[in-house]
Symmetry: C2
Subunit: 546 residues, 2 copies
């Protein structure tokens, strides 16, 4: 246990420094390369993944699981399901030793878990790909190293905040000619059991921050995966339990709680008095339900949904703008919480390095950029991945009727469930069309009276309905300044003039704050101090000196 802490101390220090400087930092290599991960890693992971299929993940009584790859086959893996009361009882039995461990020792254990998860990133890539529908490279990066970085970031924040509480204080208060004296001791005490409710699209990337933040602050954790994406979290928890046991802790410090759509257990767990913290990633309907059920009696950290805006005012690189935006719309078929949905453009068009472009010319150029990006089916498959949920296809069909179809959605060849981006033109006042989240490869080009109205609508809809990212293109510093003020107030991270290899969808651990907590897209930020400070309280003892 102490060995793990010593082994990983330097990395933890680097992570803490990076979270403060917000400069680029990554602990885990993102390239799915044999030179980094071992020349046989990819093939071994494919074999290991194949060996998991069609059988129980581990033994147990009530086995559940009906995951189906968006690329085709059912996985046929089942997982032992335990009743909430049993999960809670086991967590409570395991919790005290974890709570009482030295925070540095806990951090060592967690970094060892992350280290082993990183080593197994190729297997995780297969698991993420065949549950979420992400294409392989994204499944590797977002499901593996980038998620691991987010986990490490959470540990770094937790250690920073825990370190602010002194362990002892000698309190000497002058009182006339006397001095009042107290010896005081302080200790960070975990809130209770953490519950992490996972999502179907980024089960590890969105799950690790809450998991590692709650663990680092001393809480046992129960992870309730989405029924469609159990495997990535089951692999995670298997690794975590192994390391826990090696470090001398009860494996039940971390437990998997799979369920089924027919008999969901998230509400029962979330409202259980022993659950002290809830982390949820998913839709706003269940998010609102959880907020109501919990009613402020325990911390609830959510990432729900948003309608991410793009405002096109002017550009010095129109071709780059269109290429960059097309990629953002197409990447993982718009199934990222950071993908743009609403592109606000003045009806009078925009100034560009190619001269003034009319609204229709802007529309045509974005469509052309999408068509070019997706012309080669193999490349298109690598960008788009597959559609995680069949319901998304229904949403696409409905969205076609909301305005003028500028570019229709179509499947790619092959057996995977796929859909290229749909782009629909609507008027600014058609808020019933663009004013709610339409998850998937659905975007609107919104004809606005002018660029100021475009900005105003983008900011207003962010505040009212939530957004996680915003993108603005302008060559006018004054317009950018107005955009910065408006989006800061609306609580959304703003990217400006992206025309190259950085995309609005991307949020880098240690540098980009993901979700603000200040609009309906979510209650918390990955990761800031507020994400960790309410996962523990400070216990105090004072007594007269001996």
């Amino acid at each position: 246990m102490a060995e793990f802490a010593a082994r990983h101390q330097a990395l933890l220090d680097q992570a803490i420094a990076a979270a403060r400087s917000r400069a680029h930092f990554s602990a885990y290599p993102e390239a799915p390369s044999g030179r980094i991960y071992g020349e046989t890693a990819k093939a071994e992971a494919e074999a290991a993944f194949a060996a998991l299929l069609g059988k129980p993940f581990e033994g147990g009584e009530a086995l559940v699981g009906d995951e189906r790859s968006p690329f085709g086959p059912a996985l046929g893996i089942t997982y032992p399901a335990l009743p909430p009361a049993t999960l809670v009882a086991r967590a409570e039995a395991a919790a005290p030793a974890w709570a009482e461990a030295d925070p540095a020792a806990r951090a060592g254990v967690l970094l060892e878990i992350l280290h082993r998860l990183n080593r197994d990133s190729f297997l995780m890539a297969n698991a993420v790909m065949h549950t979420t529908g992400q294409a392989f490279v994204m499944a590797f990066q977002a499901g593996g190293p980038h998620a691991q970085d987010r986990g490490l970031e959470a540990v770094a924040y937790a250690m920073e905040e825990l370190s602010r509480v002194p362990t002892t204080a000698a309190w000497h208060k002058p009182a006339g000619r006397d001095t009042l004296r107290m010896d005081k001791r302080f200790r960070a005490v975990p809130r209770g059991i953490g519950l992490v409710i996972g999502c179907a699209t980024f089960p590890t990337w969105n799950g690790y921050p809450g998991l590692f933040a709650s663990l680092a602050t001393g809480n046992a954790v129960i992870v309730k995966p989405h029924p469609a994406a159990i495997l990535p979290l089951a692999l995670t928890i298997r690794t975590a339990r192994t390391v826990m046991a090696e470090a001398g802790f009860a494996p039940d410090v971390v437990q998997l709680a799979p369920d089924t759509p027919e008999a969901p257990i998230a509400e029962q767990l979330a409202t259980h008095p022993a659950i002290g913290i809830v982390d949820f990633t998913g839709g706003p309907v269940f998010g609102a339900r959880l907020r109501g059920l919990i009613a402020g009696t325990k911390p609830l950290h959510t990432e729900e949904a948003g309608i991410n805006p793009v405002v096109l005012h002017s550009t010095a690189d129109f071709a780059g703008l269109c290429r960059n935006l097309a990629f953002s719309l197409a990447l993982y078929s718009g199934q990222m919480c950071t993908a743009p949905q609403n592109i606000f453009v003045s009806a009078t068009g925009m100034d560009t390095d190619q001269g003034r472009k009319s609204f229709d010319e802007v529309a045509a150029a974005i469509v052309a950029a999408l068509d070019e990006l997706l012309a080669d089916p193999a490349r298109a498959a690598g960008v788009l991945g597959a559609i995680q949920n069949p319901g998304t296809l229904t949403r696409i069909a409905a969205a076609r009727r909301l305005g003028r179809v500028l570019r229709d959605s179509a499947p790619l060849p092959g057996e995977a469930r796929t859909a290229t981006p749909l782009l629909v033109e609507v008027l600014a006042d058609a808020e019933e069309a663009w004013g709610e989240e339409r998850f998937g490869p659905i975007a609107f080009l919104i004809r606005c009276p002018d660029a100021e109205a475009a900005l105003r609508l983008a900011a207003q809809s962010t505040k009212a309905r939530g957004a996680i990212t915003a993108l603005v293109h302008s060559t006018d510093d004054a317009f950018l300044a107005r955009a910065e003020a408006a989006f800061a107030k609306a609580g959304v991270a703003l990217s400006e003039n992206l025309t190259g290899g950085v995309f609005v969808n991307q949020s880098a651990a240690f540098s980009d704050y993901h979700v603000s907590g200040a609009n309906p897209a979510g209650t918390s930020c990955l990761t800031d101090a507020a994400f960790v400070t309410n996962r523990f309280h400070i216990a105090m003892v004072r007594r007269p000196p001996a």
Copy 2:
């Protein structure tokens, strides 16, 4: 404005250091002494207070106010009441300049406000005394310097947390032979308008932390005082508005929102979409109502109520124990959120330096200590103060019937509304008697099967019903260790073996964490990082370097 920051920088640095070390620190002298505050300060304050009586506090249309001194007369002061929509509109108009100001400049303004409030502590003492019923010295200390220290502490925490966010970062990510580059800017943005809902017993001590934390993090604030204790907060806000104007800000950065019991406005304000943060001190019934209404859509920091336990296991200073405990029971007639209510003692008594004392002997000794403390009517009046709310007398009458009266409550001579402590003996299983908060000078001596049962009941009731303080007396290190573990888990600050001049009721800014947030006594701690970190979010802008 910059001048205020420069003037107070050294004090702010000291306060930040003290909040980290938790050693004794106080910025504002607690002694109501002419040598410190000016030989004429006391008399001038009495005259100033008298001049406030019987007239409008300031001009305005709808005047409200019906404060009555628990020491006798109605104050006859009225205050202009504005509709919530007007208050919000004025706050929103004043907010942007305050939000955009440099945090250090804001802190300077706030420390200047605290400096002037300190200078006027004698006037505040009169205002607090004649609304809350606190005796003069407590009204001076708790209403003045101690409250000011709590306000300074909140500013210190806010400045610490704001300082962690860098203003810029140069992000350079290696990407093959290329480097991806982004220039990033970060800014802390206030959540919205802060609402502070005040209480009737410690309007400034409990109100200043939220007020100053929200202001320091850039939020405009509306303060809704309890109808029975408007004046202390009206004086506070008059000072704050004066300093705001001198510093070039709109006075409406801080506003008073008085209301009446007949037409309360707290709910309407708390649920207004423009209100971004709510701080509430008061009863658990309204606390639960607020939690349900707000349902996790904005941060809600509460201090509600608890049933503070005392566990008597053994002592090396029985006389000191009884004297200390009697003072804690009598101080401000038990109307402190930190006052003990439930004294758990084994039916077999306890070991003491005077030999084994039976349960009945312990009871008799505590009663005798109370009688001795209160024997001299002048001294008794100075300790007990007056009863803030007539309803407390009704509660005392009802509590007499809950068990065997060990010491009856009685009024002191004079016209003030007073009541000495009632001590009632009950059995451990009479949880319907001792298991809920009975606010005021009401305490139970609870006959437990043994000391372990006493500890178990104390900890269980803390977790279930909430407590802000706990006190244990024991000469057995193993028992103390068990108590420390149990009360840490139950989320209550523990004092051990208090026999001298420090009392369980006392919570010192910068050293004692007040309320844990981990049991029903409240959702937040005064003051830890979690108290300030959710009052702002971090806005980010990234763009390719020029």
